[in-house]
């Protein structure tokens, strides 16, 4: 419990720092923030109203609290270029990014687990060496190299899936899966490489430990030793890695969205950067920082459930 409180307080501090960063960022925007928020179409009257509403004539501390209140109630302001509310823009694009990240991670784990178990049970045999080379290859090729190759093969040559575009799952699940297949695979390959190599070496080491040998002396088969004895312990490092990977993953997802022209948060922020739409940049980046911090906190807390030894220490 103390452990969880400690982790949660770290999260709160991180969120606080992120909010300060967001607040300062907004005030670094050239010109009157009210104008920046309302966009070029704003009438002087509206600017004056918003200036008072934002409390721009109040002290910075008061302004910060107003900002916090607005941010956490979803009032991120309006996009400079289109005049749309930033909240609406984010609401329209976050599901797609989430789908890409979750889908790719599920895919990566589904491939990595059986492969690394097989490799670890017979280490340094052909299967192990072959899969090591393959995953190292996937790891070394960046998404912007892999994506065009996949598009060329599966979209252009075979025509199984579209090269770009996105249909939401609510419209057509089948089409949605087709649209998301290549982006998910592209993003999954890098994660697969990391997960399978970590899990493989973790399992190889665990199988050398006394408790695995003792389990063997009970007459348990090697696969059963892996699944019943080693998996829970190796999941600790796997969870750590996926936590550490999350920011890399988000960056990767943004790049892939752009390549496949998926209307996700990545495309949103890249377009915003191009059109200097500061409020969009600010809202998306602060939200991403907070999401990463939250995920890492959840990872830390999940430790306590995976490892009973940590539960006791705290």
């Amino acid at each position: 419990m103390k452990f969880i409180i400690k982790k949660l307080s770290i999260l709160i501090v991180t969120v606080f720092i992120a909010s300060i960063f967001g607040f300062i960022f907004e005030h670094l925007i050239p010109g009157n923030p009210a104008v920046a928020i309302l966009g070029p179409q704003a009438t002087p009257h509206n600017v004056a109203v918003l200036t008072t509403k934002l409390g721009l004539n109040k002290s910075p501390v008061q302004q910060y609290f107003t900002w916090i209140k607005n941010f956490f109630t979803g009032h991120f302001g309006y996009a400079y270029s289109s005049g749309d509310s930033v909240k609406t823009l984010i609401a329209q694009s976050y599901t797609e990014t989430l789908e890409l990240i979750v889908g790719s991670q599920v895919l990566a784990f589904l491939i990595a687990i059986p492969i690394s178990v097989r490799a670890a049970v017979k280490p340094n045999k052909i299967f192990d060496k072959f899969t090591s080379v393959i995953s190292f290859g996937f790891y070394s090729f960046p998404a912007f190299v892999v994506a065009p190759i996949l598009i060329l093969i599966f979209a252009v040559k075979l025509g199984i899936v579209p090269a770009s575009g996105y249909v939401g799952p609510s419209q057509s699940i089948g089409q949605n899966i087709k649209d998301m297949a290549l982006p998910c695979i592209t993003l999954a390959l890098g994660s697969f490489a990391v997960y399978s190599q970590i899990l493989r070496s973790e399992l190889v080491n665990l199988l050398k430990e006394d408790f695995a040998l003792f389990a063997k002396s009970k007459g348990i088969s090697k696969y059963k030793i892996v699944f019943k004895h080693c998996f829970r312990l190796s999941s600790l490092s796997l969870v750590t890695i996926s936590g550490l990977q999350i920011s890399t993953l988000i960056t990767g997802a943004f790049v892939i969205e752009y390549i496949f022209q998926l209307p996700g948060l990545g495309t949103l922020i890249i377009n915003a950067i191009n059109s200097k739409d500061y409020l969009v940049i600010q809202a998306v980046s602060v939200l991403v920082v907070m999401a990463v911090a939250t995920i890492n906190t959840l990872v830390d807390i999940s430790y306590a459930f995976l490892d009973p030894r940590i539960r006791r220490e705290n």
């Binding site: 430990e209 408790f211 003792f214 063997k216 002396s217 009970k218 007459g219 829970r232 009973p308």
Partner: protein, 352 residues
């Protein structure tokens, strides 16, 4: 199981090891951890294996049930365990051997038990493999076994993780895991080394009583000759991978022939004769397994050494003068009759 169970025949001997050698392929070359070891023990007896750290006790024990990973291993010779030819067993038959015939206890229960698995599951695992029972029955069996090995509040402790138990309790849990399959052979590799002295005795008494109760054959590795004297019927003394002395505990410990055994005894203040000088440990250390002496491996440290010992390697020979088997590998054994020879040889050595 069909194959292995058919191989079990009524036989007076529990274990016959013949010319057993175990080598590891290492980066520095071949490491022969066990070298041409042969011995036989009857059913239901307790064998103690003694020797300094690194003499090959663990490798020998684990090889007896083929527990070592065999990718870098070379096993020669034969192991006959209750009529089962252990060296010839295939993987599946080996698992049957573990499930029904042989169990092992390691030195450190903290590393041998799974840290993230509840005690009851670790014991049930052995039970489940051995017998086919219902869930509730198995639950009760786990509690019974915990009670048998002397765990207080077995209902509560069954739900604990290993780190929540004391060192002695953890070792009892490991013993529970090992005996859950009702083995006919139990190997205990230094089961008390990681424990406090007060708890050591309790664990040994537990092992001894379980051995009697289940009529198990017990192999106990220890570097404590007092322990061996206390519960073992037979003693095997190992030095640098070789079996250097073997026989009934009383014979070997009361009248050691091999100077190494005597030196080990001299390190034990409680057991050594009052007149013998009390050493804390034998001076110098065991030879590097990669550059073993040509002759007797103990020669560099032996106070009875003669020139023959340096060029020729002594074979394990039996003392024919006695009804009991008492074997030793030494050219100049310490016997009452030859003790004079031994003494002169010592002065010879000082001159050269």
């Amino acid at each position: 199981m069909k194959k292995t169970s058919k191989q079990i025949e009524p036989n007076e001997n529990a274990l016959t090891v013949n010319n057993l050698s175990v080598s590891f392929k290492t980066e520095r070359g071949l490491l022969k951890a066990v070298d041409s070891v042969s011995f036989t023990i009857p059913k239901g007896s307790v064998l103690g294996i003694v020797g300094e750290s690194g003499s090959g006790k663990t490798v020998l024990c684990r090889t007896l049930i083929r527990l070592l990973p065999e990718s870098n291993l070379n096993i020669e010779g034969s192991i006959d365990l209750f009529g089962i030819n252990v060296t010839e067993l295939r993987k599946r038959q080996l698992r049957q051997l573990y499930k029904n015939v042989a169990s092992i206890i390691f030195q450190d229960p903290l590393t041998a038990l799974n840290p993230v698995m509840k005690v009851k599951h670790q014991i049930a695992e052995s039970l489940k493999l051995h017998t086919e029972t219902s869930r509730s029955q198995r639950k009760q069996e786990v509690i019974d076994i915990l009670e048998l090995v002397g765990i207080p509040d077995p209902q509560i402790k069954a739900n604990c993780y290993p780190h929540q138990l004391s060192g002695g309790q953890r070792q009892r849990v490991m013993i529970a895991c090992a005996i859950a399959s009702s083995p006919t052979l139990l190997i205990a590799d230094e089961p008390t080394t990681a424990l406090d002295t007060t708890i050591q005795l309790q664990i040994l008494q537990l092992l001894k009583s379980l051995q009697k109760l289940n009529q198990m054959t017990l192999i106990l590795v220890s570097h404590d000759l007092g322990v061996v004297n206390y519960i073992c019927d037979y003693v095997a003394v190992m030095y640098a991978g070789k079996l250097v002395e073997f026989g009934k505990t009383s014979d070997v410990l009361d009248h050691p022939y091999m100077p190494y055994t005597k030196a080990l005894l001299d390190c034990m203040p409680s057991l050594s004769k009052p007149k013998s000088h009390k050493l804390q440990s034998i001076p110098n250390s065991m030879p590097d397994p990669f550059s073993l002496p040509l002759g007797c491996r103990f020669a560099p440290r032996c106070t009875y050494v003669q020139s023959r010992c340096v060029i020729e390697s002594p074979k394990l020979i039996s003392d024919s003068s006695e009804a009991n088997i008492h074997e030793y590998a030494c050219f100049f054994p310490i016997k009452p009759i030859v003790s004079k020879v031994a003494l002169t040889s010592q002065t010879d050595n000082e001159n050269t």
